[in-house]
């Protein structure tokens, strides 16, 4: 069977006719045996909770998140790509840069610094020549690259959490459980977003140790994190992870396998997003207010995508596509 040809109007009608989206309520039932709108059964009064932020069933959501965590932990196909990029970017690269700065002749960075925004380049040009390379790369240029980590981890995990359930044929079992659609959706989102942010933060701590440690003989001080790095880690990285989730939720709805979702999202959409975010990063390195503003915009887009994704995440729609 297929879902082809189902109109949006039909989907919307089905979505609003569904039972309590919060999924709680006494065992005797919520919503009650409400009257039916007509012989087709459509147009029935929605039992839905229309509050902006309806209460969630956190115990159910914790159970779903715990299941996803356990499954991720045991899946090399998910863990390896999830950790490889952060390792290369946050360990190997700063280590190599630090070693290069320690062993090489002082490189001439005037050409590079001349192309950077003046406010960003000025504090670096004041540094001794041997410090300039590590501070420029580890302190500034790696910052936009760092955003690859939450974006990539979130997208890999989101593809596994949404399209992967279809691929493993485990989705139908979940749909037959007494969990509200929104609880299931947000649990799946959290199950991917939390590890993405966690890996980013842990990765950054490791990066800070490696960057400062390797460069210590030259710099003789802790130069990472800067204030801008802090904004990047605490404000922008979670936002970018949420943005990746928002995109992959939409992509996964169309994909039949996690690999297909990764290909669709990873090859086409996410690079465009990353390019836009990285472009913005040049701006945010200039000042804290701009950094906060860029982060705010990313959050806004991410939340919009996720809320839209939640609206479309209905049992009827999911089961129709099985």
């Amino acid at each position: 069977m297929t879902a082809t040809g189902q109109s949006n109007a039909t989907d919307q009608s089905r979505a609003t006719a569904r039972d309590d989206p919060t999924g709680r309520g006494a065992p005797t039932g919520r919503g009650g045996p409400t009257g039916r709108g007509g012989p087709t059964g459509r147009g029935r009064p929605a039992g839905g909770d229309r509050r902006l932020l309806p209460a969630r069933d956190w115990s159910v959501m914790r159970a779903v998140v715990a299941k996803d965590f356990t499954a991720i932990r045991r899946s090399k196909g998910v863990i390896l790509p999830m950790l490889l990029v952060p390792f290369l970017l946050l360990v190997v690269l700063p280590f190599g840069i630090g070693l290069a700065a320690r062993s090489a002749q002082s490189p001439d960075l005037h050409g590079v610094l001349g192309k950077l925004p003046h406010d960003m380049a000025r504090p670096i040009t004041r540094l001794p020549a041997r410090e300039q390379l590590v501070v420029l790369v580890d302190g500034y240029l790696l910052a936009p690259l760092f955003l690859i980590v939450p974006l990539m981890v979130a997208s890999v995990l989101a593809a596994d959490a949404f399209a992967g359930e279809k691929e493993r044929r485990t989705l139908e079992g979940l749909l037959h459980l007494p969990v509200a659609e929104k609880d299931l959706f947000y649990a799946k989102v959290l199950g991917a977003w939390l590890p993405a942010v966690g890996v980013s933060w842990i990765g950054f701590v490791v990066f800070a140790f490696v960057a400062n440690g390797v460069a210590w003989p030259i710099v003789h001080r802790v130069f990472v994190p800067t204030q801008l790095w802090a904004v990047m880690i605490l404000w922008l990285a979670p936002a970018v992870a949420a943005l990746g989730m928002g995109v992959m939720v939409r992509v996964s709805a169309r994909a039949r396998t996690a690999q297909e979702a990764n290909q669709l999202g990873g090859a086409v959409i996410l690079p465009l997003i990353f390019a836009a975010v990285a472009q913005s990063t040049g701006l945010l390195l200039v000042s804290l207010p701009i950094a906060f503003a860029v982060g705010g915009i990313v959050w806004l887009i991410a939340i919009t995508l996720l809320v839209r994704g939640a609206t479309r995440f209905t049992r009827d729609r999911l089961a129709s596509a099985l």
Binding site: M1, G5, D19, G41, T70, A71, S75, R169, P178
Partner: protein
């Protein structure tokens, strides 16, 4: 317990289910019988509130699956055709995870999982990853998971597909005792006539989304055929005179020669002695008389116009 009236659901322009009306009593096992694509899985999804009907209505355990789906699903258990085990989790994790989502405390869930795995002969494999389990083992684990919360209604979607004969027998034995032991109403989706005939008092025969018939096989047969077929073994095919004698007996409506006798249709069992007497009176030896009430197989193939090879 379960009622569906004119239940229908379409995908695009195609009606996957078109006007299903069935019912099941508490503790009853009913079968949804039909080939792949008949609409059996769609029926289960509609009855459990996973899909929304385009027409008709259903009530399960007194609840409306559309508006009270979450409450309904607390009290139902489903064995999906694929089983739905996550290969990355252990057998126990697969069961306990669903229990936790159902709100069962983890200690209780583990205890009940161990009890069910013991019952299904899989207690030694509780900590094994689901990956690598045979189809039969997967079905048993999935069945244990579906039973964990002691559901009042159990939907079993093709529980024996892909199983070898021994595993099939085991699963059928399990299902057979479920209604009695757990007191559950069971809706069995299958395309195996033997399964349906063995386990169910009533069957719904579905094809291409349409309900062809619903009821006990004997009732369905009575609606389709008048009388009872009786096979009479005479040692050789009955001749025309004997057939004429037989059909003149009150209560006998038809008689046809067979390779080693004749096949007659009588109004009821009460006409059989007169039938036999008419043959003996014609000085023909009777070696065996076997009443052959229609089987579920006869009903099914008569309704669908299929042959055994097509099912």
């Amino acid at each position: 317990m379960i009622t569906a009236e004119d239940l229908g659901r379409r995908f695009g322009e195609t009606w996957a289910l078109d006007g299903l009306s069935i019912e099941a009593e508490p503790g009853e096992v009913i079968a949804l019988l039909g080939p792949n694509g008949a609409g059996k899985t769609t029926t289960v999804r509609l009855l459990d509130g996973v899909l929304t009907p385009d027409r008709g209505r259903a009530r399960v355990l007194g609840l409306d699956p559309v508006t009270q789906g979450t409450d309904l699903r607390r009290r139902t258990g489903v064995l999906t055709e694929a089983g739905g085990l996550d290969d990355r989790l252990t057998i126990t994790d697969n069961i306990v995870t669903h229990a936790r989502i159902r709100g069962i405390p983890i200690a209780d869930a583990k205890e009940r999982a161990a009890e069910l795995l013991r019952r299904f002969g899989m207690q030694d494999q509780a900590d094994r990853l689901a990956q690598g389990l045979s189809t039969g083992e997967r079905k048993r684990v999935a069945l244990a998971r579906a039973l964990l919360h002691r559901p009042e209604v159990l939907f079993l979607d093709e529980p024996t597909s892909g199983l070898d004969p021994a595993a099939t027998r085991d699963v059928l034995d399990l299902i057979g005792t479920l209604a009695a032991d757990e007191g559950a109403t069971v809706v069995l989706c299958t395309h195996f006539l033997i399964e349906a005939a063995r386990l169910c008092r009533r069957v719904a025969i579905i094809e291409r989304g349409k309900l062809l018939a619903f009821g006990a096989p004997t009732e369905l047969a009575a609606r389709m055929w008048r009388g009872l077929r009786v096979e009479v073994e005479l040692g050789l095919a009955a001749d025309a005179n004997l057939l004429e004698n037989v059909t003149s007996v009150p209560g006998v409506s038809d008689a046809q020669p067979t390779e080693r006798g004749l096949s007659a249709v009588v109004e009821d069992r009460g006409a059989i002695p007169a039938l036999v007497a008419s043959i003996v009176t014609a000085e023909t030896a009777v070696y065996a008389v076997v009443p052959r009430p229609p089987t579920l197989e006869d009903v099914y193939f008569a309704l669908t116009g299929r042959t055994g090879a097509e099912l």
